[in-house]
């Protein structure tokens, strides 16, 4: 019976599996902290429904919330804490790509080494916030 899963594929899968479980668990735990009011949110829970009906630019302007990575400096707030697992899940692919890079280099798989490095750069640029923030 053939199983074409390569060494890199298995490594990628293992990291993805652990990371995904940590991320999803984090999502639930931080949401409980938020919903239960253990940490006070930046925007009171009963006011969020006044904002989610409007375009994001208007929401940012009226709520005084700063876009980009500003949440990282506000992790003491229940709602901002939720961005931690969301960001973790969104960076997981970069971690997996970096993990398979040494194996590809060892095999002198130059084309895929280049593809993987370029992908990591693309994802890091997207994550950096350099491409603009603030909506419409």
């Amino acid at each position: 019976m053939a199983n074409q899963a390569t060494e890199e594929q298995i490594l990628y899968a293992n990291i993805l599996n652990k990371g995904m479980l940590i991320g999803l668990l984090g999502l639930v735990v931080t949401f409980i902290i938020y919903g239960a009011g253990i940490l006070e949110p930046k925007i009171p829970l009963d006011q969020v429904q006044n904002y989610w009906v409007m375009p994001v630019s208007e929401y940012l302007q009226l709520s005084g919330i700063h876009a980009g990575w500003a949440w990282l400096g506000n992790l003491g707030y229940g709602d901002m804490l939720n961005f931690l697992p969301i960001a973790f899940l969104s960076i997981l692919t970069v971690i997996c790509y970096l993990a398979i890079l040494p194996g590809l280099m060892r095999k002198k798989d130059t084309a895929y080494v280049v593809l993987v490095i370029v992908e990591v750069v693309v994802l890091l640029v997207a994550a950096s916030g350099f491409l603009g923030s603030g909506g419409h």
Binding site: M1, A2, N3, Q4, A5, T6, E8, Q9, I10, Y12, A13, N14, L16, M20, L24, V28, T30, F31, Y34, L45, D46, Q47, V48, Q49, N50, Y51, W52, V53, M54, P55, V56, Y59, L60, L62, S63, I65, A67, G68, D79, N82, F83, I86, A87, L89, S90, L92, V94, A111, Y112, L115, E119, V122, L123, V125, A126, A127, L131, G132, G135, H136
Partner: protein, 322 residues
Amino acid sequence: MLEKYLRFSKFILLLVVSMILLVGVANVFAAHPQTPAPDPSQHAWWYWPLILLILSFALGVFAVLAGVGGGVLYVPIVSGFLPFHLDFVRGAGLIVALAGALAAGPGLLKKGMADLRLAIPMALIASTCAIVGAMIGLALPTNIVQTLLGATILGIVVIMIKAKKSEYPEVPKPDALSQSLRIMGVYHEPTLNKDVSWQIHRTPIGLGLFVVIGVMAGMFGLGAGWANVPVLNLLLGAPIKISVATSKFLLSITDTSAAWIYLNNGAVLPLMVVPSVVGIMLGSFIGVKVLAVTKPAIIRILVIGVLGVAGLKALLKGLGIG
């Protein structure tokens, strides 16, 4: 046997009625205030997240049964029938599609069904273009995005009705690019009890189409399985199982780049995202169990119908008619 069939027919009917009721009730209660001034008719903070949780659960069940990604159902239905602004729905839709793809990825990779060598070049094109799509989507006026979303969803409905699939497409000769990248493989097909070798052709055209797929995924916050699978299977010639699995895994990369753009632009609200992700994942889990004992063809027709209505509503809303 008949009793079993009737029991499941009742179960499906109950699910359908619940889904319709949910959407109907949500639509009746949907308010669209344009200012943050407290609305006297506003609900307790947990009301809409609970509706989202239940609706996403139903969408998760139906997505599995109909063989589509959750994101493609989530964005048009939630933006069409619930009071959330399209910006936040697209942000949540991307995280929902991303979480689903991340959850499915490890199993598909380990079984050798999702192929890393096939995914990596396609993902690079799609994820780069998804960034462009997300930036365009957030820069355009809402009515234009809503109109384009409606048109896209109706296009997806046509693809779902018309697109054929090929279990083992014939690829007489792999193209030079796929040969140089060594995109090929072997997997064990249990239904035939034999190993199936595969290779691909028309790689440059496929990569070109992933430009369009990436832009659309980023612009509308949709998972792009509806487009990935036909390209991988019918155009490139990968077997259907490899195409479906690689497409699902691909979304974990494509949606990552677009999700960052929405996240960095403030279009991700945890109060919407978490109930949606949890709901759709629980729904998918139940959907897999129900799949074994139900008739997916009927569900698929139902989902195509619901998607058609949601697409039409998005189109009319965008044009200021609905």
